[in-house]
């Protein structure tokens, strides 16, 4: 095992800047969505990823477009870390024809298979078996594609968690299970709903490695994910990484979070993941404050552009209602 210092040193400049950019993209994207939602321009409900950036970014830093991820209802961050187009994402959230899913999916169902992003998911725990599927494809086709499977602390009590981890373990599938433990499933605390002390402890039940990392430390996530991804690529099977993290806002927009104390909200907010990563990058001399400011400004503009793009985009045309149900659409849609 390398020491922590040695590990930290291994983040290369290019990688570090990419991570920073992605984290800032997520934060600014989510903050913008929050604002737009508040003024009523975004339909439905949205679950924001702000505060948890280090997790998605630290993991996806090791993945290429050929690798896969599965995601959750809180999926914007995973999409961005997997390099989905911000414009297409924002348009999707606005329900526009130019969205990544033509406006048919919405916030909870953004996918981009070309980027290996297999879909956000409105079903808690729904993505875990799916991660086994893409990993099975890689295994049968003998590619070295890895699947990262993101899910929340609430999801770790779903049956699919158990079935998926066991299946990945016995088939030795190249999956990295990433538990995003933000302490709550909706309003219910992790310690009430889960009988385990740490989600990572459950890895023992599958004879796979289980690791707890500080999910607000992008560097720590980066290193844990690196090991797990390499392990998977070597054909040594799945790993479970638990990232202890913090959700900056409510479960969904509109949640007043009475279940969190004021102190809890404030003390955690202090440990902001982006500030912390900036500190790291500058301390290590990987980037200057100027570089980072430049990136922030660029991202600022990207997000503005994404919003403009979305707002200027048309809604889907009427005929889109009944297309895309089947690849081949015989008769009149199944007798309907």
């Amino acid at each position: 095992m390398k020491s922590v210092e040695e590990k930290q040193n291994s983040i290369q400049q290019e990688q570090g800047l990419w991570m920073f950019r992605k984290m800032v993209q997520i934060r600014k994207f989510e903050d913008a969505v929050r604002e737009i939602f508040a003024r009523g321009d975004i339909p439905g409900f949205v679950h924001l990823y702000a505060g948890e950036e280090a997790v998605a970014v630290g993991v996806c830093a090791h993945l290429t477009d050929q690798d896969f991820i599965t995601s959750t209802h809180r999926g914007h961050g995973h999409c961005i870390a997997k390099e989905c187009d911000l414009k297409g994402m924002m348009a999707e959230i606005y329900g526009r024809a130019t969205g990544l899913c033509k406006g048919k999916g919405g916030s909870m169902h953004i996918a981009d298979f070309e980027k290996g992003m297999l879909g956000a998911n409105g079903i808690v725990g729904g993505g875990i078996p799916l991660a086994c599927g893409s990993a099975l494809t890689a295994k049968v086709k003998e590619t070295d594609q890895v699947t990262a499977c993101f899910f929340g602390d609430g999801a770790n009590n779903e049956g699919t968690f158990h079935e998926g981890l066991n299946l990945a373990a016995i088939w030795n599938l190249p999956v990295v299970f990433v538990a995003e433990n933000n302490g709550y499933g909706e309003a219910t605390p992790f310690h009430y709903a889960s009988s385990c002390t740490h989600i990572a402890d459950r890895a023992q039940a599958y004879n796979i490695p289980g690791v707890v990392v500080d999910g607000r430390d992008a560097v720590a996530v980066y290193h844990a994910a690196k090991e797990a991804v390499e392990r998977a690529k070597r054909g040594e099977g799945p790993t479970l990484i638990e990232c202890k993290t913090f959700r900056n806002y409510g479960h969904f927009e509109g949640d007043t979070q009475t279940y969190k104390t004021k102190e809890e909200r404030e003390s955690q907010a202090e440990k902001d993941v982006i500030q912390r990563f900036i500190q790291y990058l500058t301390d290590e001399g990987i980037a200057s404050k100027k570089d980072l400011d430049r990136i922030e400004n660029e991202v600022e503009r990207e997000v503005e552009e994404a919003i403009r793009f979305a707002e200027e985009s048309p809604f889907p045309s009427e005929n889109e209602l009944t297309t895309d149900v089947y690849v081949s659409y015989p008769t009149d849609g199944g007798g309907a």
Binding site: P43, G44, F45, G95, R96, A97, C101, G103, K104, G105, G106, S107, M108, H109, N121, G122, I123, V124, G125, G154, A155, N157, E158, G159, T160, G185, E186, A187, T188, P189, H191, Y192, A193, S194, T258, Y259, T261, F315, P316, E318, E320, L321, T322, V325, G333, G334, G335, A336
Partner: protein, 343 residues
């Protein structure tokens, strides 16, 4: 009669009445209390369900009877079913009916079949409350209306109320019923206001309600679509066509007689429902009438449903997805053989 309260308040009231009367009635579900295990949380600040329907009940009845569950639907729905067959009378919330896929076995093969498989020697008085319905911009996995699947299962009873008063009366009956009942709540109706009797108020299952009487055409509406049907009826009335609007309220048992009698009178039938069309309750009712009411019919039976597609997210598409007054009117028009001005 009662005061004017909302659909969601009416539902809460039914639970409150049932819980006050019978200590065996307990509530369980994800955040039905809200913030399970949070020390500092005042009970009146607890969520009370994701849309606040059970808010206040934990304050009144305590956390021993209002149980937050983990996100483990198979686990707690199964527990509710078996608690019912061993002496409690649980009301379990399956937040969205769309989540049935992760816990259906505990209803399909367990709760629904206990009584039959075990030779009539057990009863399972469990109520499952669950949200359904499109129009909330909640997309494909949070907007379905899946009561046809439950209706097809012998052993389950299925209720889909359309008004606050019906919701209260039916839910109280459902909770007190000795069989498993799946109680569907359209999330887009929660804010609908209406007069609701105070205190104990019950409506029997299997009794349709004539939401409007008329002699020219029968429109059966399910849940929210009762209101669409009523709108259409108003419009038809202005043109001299009197529609009878039948609200079955419970789909299983279904009040065949009221539907058939209405068609006997009007000779024309439209069924309006927002489930997908195939093997739907709309087609189920159509088939009932095509058999037992065939001789009454003067025109083809029309089902106005959602198309055979998932629920789209985009508002423009979702609005098209739902049955519209236009579609119903044009069906009515065709049946009556006259041109009616559209709404």
């Amino acid at each position: 009669m009662g005061r004017t309260i909302s659909f969601s308040e009416a539902i809460r009231e039914a639970m409150e009445v049932a819980m006050s009367k019978n200590p065996d009635v307990i509530l369980m579900g994800e955040d039905v209390a809200g913030g399970g295990g949070v020390d500092h949380l005042q009970d009146d600040e607890a969520w009370g369900g994701v849309l606040g329907v059970t808010k206040g009940l934990v304050k009144k009845f305590g956390r021993k009877r209002v149980l937050d569950t983990p996100i483990s639907e198979a686990g707690y729905i199964g527990a509710a079913v078996s608690a019912a067959s061993t002496g409690l009378r649980p009301v379990a919330e399956l937040m969205f009916n769309d989540f049935m896929g992760v816990c259906f076995d505990q209803l399909l093969n367990q709760g629904a079949k206990f009584r039959y498989m075990f030779g009539g020697k057990v009863k399972t008085p469990v109520t499952i409350r669950t949200m359904h319905g499109a129009g909330f911009r909640a997309a494909a996995q949070h907007s379905q209306s899946l009561y046809p699947m439950f209706t097809s299962v012998p052993g389950l009873k299925v209720v889909v109320p359309s008004t606050p008063a019906d919701a209260k009366g039916l839910l109280l009956t459902a909770i007190e019923d000795d069989d498993p009942v799946i109680f569907f709540e359209d999330k887009t109706l929660y804010n609908l206001k209406g007069e609701v009797p105070e205190g104990e108020y019950r409506i029997p299952l299997g009794q349709a309600d004539m939401k409007r009487t008329g002699s020219d055409i029968t429109i059966v509406g399910i849940g929210k679509q009762v209101h669409t049907a009523l709108k259409v009826a108003d419009h038809l009335s202005k043109q001299g066509v009197e529609a009878e609007v039948v609200d079955p309220r419970s789909l299983s048992p279904l009040d065949n007689q009221t539907i058939l009698q209405s068609v006997e009178k009007t000779s024309r039938l439209i069924i309006v429902d927002e489930s997908n069309p195939r093997c739907s309750i709309a087609r189920d009712i159509a088939a009932l009438v095509a058999d037992q009411g065939f001789d009454y019919l003067d025109a083809p039976i029309k089902c106005i449903t959602a198309p055979h597609t998932p629920v789209p997210f985009s508002p423009t598409l979702e609005d098209l997805y739902l049955p519209s007054t236009e579609k119903i009117l044009s069906a009515a028009e065709e049946m009556i053989g006259e041109t009616l001005t559209t709404v």
